[in-house]
Symmetry: C2
Subunit: 188 residues, 2 copies
DNA sequence: ATAAAAACGAACAGACTTGTCTGTTTTTTG
DNA sequence: CAAAAAACAGACAAGTCTGTTCGTTTTTAT
């Protein structure tokens, strides 16, 4: 049972914190083994290279994003409420994480020559969000063509991305709030 | 005349290429001196540390962005045409640069603990664009309140940012084109 | 032409990097 | 309880990193 081992779990816990706070490159193997209280040989038994840690980190992050967001939307009805919860969720994460930006975009931007496997995890994460947005739009009372739904979903996703970037640069949640209001107006 | 020296110029030329292609941390001092054909002692005469190179790089990049964009808009009338040129300009840069994302956001995301001076250069660059967008909106025939102008400018800026991010993840200019069309619709 | 300034090549320091390997101890499993 | 598997601590390799310092050569300015 290598997949659920304690070593793996502790390493992923640690890098989830460190990669976000410091970035991937600024986080050394030695710091990882020290803070996760794991022997270097054990770490390399589970992750043959640092890139493998990165891939596992991304997979873990996208899985956790989905379950955490689902939990966040627990008591909200599908449709507009859940759709707008996207912005509230991002706001919460931004505040808690110190406004360092989207986990996934951060990796892609830090490593412009990222391997395709890792890049695909990031792409799929963004595609997942867009699909979700489209689904919730189609649940709304307003009748929309497929084309209109697609355009609206794109617009909302870009408001989400763009306000996330600006929130990070300004170290403020305001852009996310403002983008949410705009999205709300667009939906009605 | 240290500001216009050939050493400084060649170093900035080189890092403009290397920082964008590889990122800041992945670019070593030794590669910089080799490709800019400058002695290490000369480089450290002009830039006491690597962080100083980064600051100079950002200042240079924002200055060049402004002049290049002005040249790009050369024959376009102020108002909608120039405003939408923002998207065309971003598209051109994205294609030429291999879809590695916005120069400035890249730095901020790669270095989450960036010094305030550098972060301010980035913030001012984004503020400059937003101010420009507002100015061009106010030139349009449609009458808008200050509040409406502000909201519209924010929306356009986030479409610009968001589509830029997605364009980079997908390595495709399509999101920028699509965002431009949406912006166009919003303006009328 | 001569003096001052700038750029040069190259060695060097010291710390850090990822990854390997060895032998020991702990944990798990039959 | 014994055998197998996993995790351990830590030394080590080989290379990289930023930054300093040397004496020499080239360029610039008076």
């Amino acid at each position: 049972m290598k997949e659920n081992s304690k070593v793996r779990h502790r390493v992923l816990d640690t890098v989830t914190r460190l990669f976000y706070e410091q970035g991937f490159q600024a986080t050394g193997i030695n710091q990882i083994i020290e803070e996760s209280e794991v022997a270097k040989a054990s770490l390399y038994e589970h992750f043959p290279s640092k890139e493998d840690i990165l891939r596992a980190y991304l997979e873990d992050a996208t899985a956790r994003w989905r379950t955490d967001f689902a939990a966040f939307c627990n008591d909200r009805p599908p449709g507009e409420k859940t759709l707008l919860a996207l912005f509230d969720y991002r706001k919460q994460r931004a505040v808690e994480g110190g406004f360092k930006g989207c986990t996934f975009v951060r990796v892609a931007y830090e490593l412009p020559n990222l391997d395709e496997a890792s890049l695909d995890i990031i792409r799929k994460h963004k595609a997942y969000i867009k699909t979700m947005v489209k689904q919730h739009i189609s649940l709304l009372p307003v009748r929309r063509s497929a084309r209109e739904t697609e355009d609206l979903a794109e617009m909302i996703v870009w408001l989400y991305e763009g306000s996330g970037v600006q929130s990070s640069l300004e170290r403020s949640a305001h852009p996310i709030d403002a983008a949410k209001k705009i999205a709300q107006k667009l939906l009605s």
